[in-house]
């Protein structure tokens, strides 16, 4: 294989990072520009070219397909990504603050045995951490769906907000949400982000998604 063909094949491989719809429309012209800008004799994409392609592809995957003028959806998508980060921090905190939770539980129930504590961990805290992990996926998926004009993403998120509100209130009523202060702070922060997203997507106009 000659150098030019090898380089073209390598560029095509890196262009696979882009969303399919974008590739269908723009792969040929980006490839043309990449080849036109290549050094004579270049056989492989340079590191800076690879980084640029990957970073741009990531932006294309993450950013909303609505005009910037649709501020409500734009902000909601930004908040949803923020929510995913905070949710991940929450899941990590649940695991990292197990010691605090245990000492609070032991203070409240002095006769708690190790077996009973393990049952609390397996029955309540492990499902909570797993649910938080799944929720991270949900935040990201909703951000993508909302940014791509999927109407049901609004309904799905409103239901999610309702469920987490009930869960938070239930936890506060039972006192379990205040076993570790870090958990409570993150949980409240997350709920406020959810509230802001709901306000934006309920009050905002329907997104005008680019036809592509």
């Amino acid at each position: 294989m000659n150098g030019a063909a090898e380089l073209e094949r390598a560029y095509r491989r890196w262009l696979r990072c882009y969303p399919k719809t974008f590739r269908r429309e723009h792969e040929a012209e980006i490839l043309d520009v990449l080849l036109a800008g290549a050094r004579p004799g270049q056989r492989r994409p340079e590191l800076t070219e690879r980084l640029d392609l990957v970073a741009s592809a990531l932006r294309m995957h993450l950013r909303p397909r609505v005009p910037r003028s649709d501020r409500a959806v734009f902000r909601a998508v930004g908040l949803l990504y923020l929510g995913a980060v905070v949710q991940l921090a929450t899941a990590t905190t649940v695991v990292a603050t197990l010691g605090d939770v245990k000492s609070n539980v032991v203070t409240r129930y002095p006769g708690l045995t190790e077996v009973e504590w393990q049952a609390v961990v397996a029955g309540q805290l492990v499902p909570k951490a797993l649910a938080a992990g799944i929720a991270v996926g949900f935040w990201l998926w909703t951000a993508w769906a909302l940014g791509h004009g999927r109407r049901w993403a609004r309904i799905a998120f409103a239901i999610f907000f309702g469920l987490t509100t009930v869960d938070l209130l239930e936890g506060l009523a039972r006192g379990s949400a205040v076993y570790a202060r870090a958990d409570l702070a993150l949980g409240t922060g997350l709920w406020l982000i959810e509230l802001a997203v709901v306000c934006l997507i309920v009050g905002g106009r329907r997104p005008k998604v680019a036809a592509r």
């Binding site: 974008f22 723009h26 040929a28 012209e29 980006i30 490839l31 043309d32 520009v33 990449l34 036109a36 800008g37 800076t48 070219e49 640029d52 392609l53 990957v54 970073a55 741009s56 592809a57 932006r59 294309m60 950013r63 397909r65 609505v66 005009p67 910037r68 003028s69 680019a210």
Partner: protein, 111 residues
């Protein structure tokens, strides 16, 4: 609400298209010329910016050509793109004029 300043890459891409339609490689070369070699956009960054500008209605596809078996797509500024570029240029000129005045320099000199 205060309008956000335009990113430099966006400003340069719109400026490159202000005089007429251009294809991707033409825009990249023109951006280097406009910025006196200071800004060299990479193809990934350029197409990401063009995609955003098309979504925002500031740029549109003018025409397509096939040159030596390869697709060449030309982009042009929309009327809204022209308006936003003019507004940004006016903002930059006003800021620059203020800076020169406070430095006690004539506009366009660097001391």
């Amino acid at each position: 609400m205060t309008k956000r300043a335009m990113q430099e890459a966006t400003f340069l891409v719109l400026t490159a298209l202000a005089a007429g339609s251009q294809h991707g490689y033409g825009i990249l070369s023109d951006v280097v010329r406009i910025s006196d070699g200071r800004v060299r956009l990479r193809p990934g960054t350029l197409y990401s910016a063009l995609d955003r500008l098309r979504l925002d209605g500031l740029v549109s596809v003018d025409r397509e050509e096939v040159v030596e078996g390869r697709l060449r797509r030309y982009y042009r500024l929309t009327p809204e793109g022209g308006r936003q570029l003019a507004a940004e240029a006016a903002r930059l000129r006003s800021n620059a004029a203020t800076a020169f005045a406070r430095l006690g320099l004539a506009e366009g000199t660097t001391g």
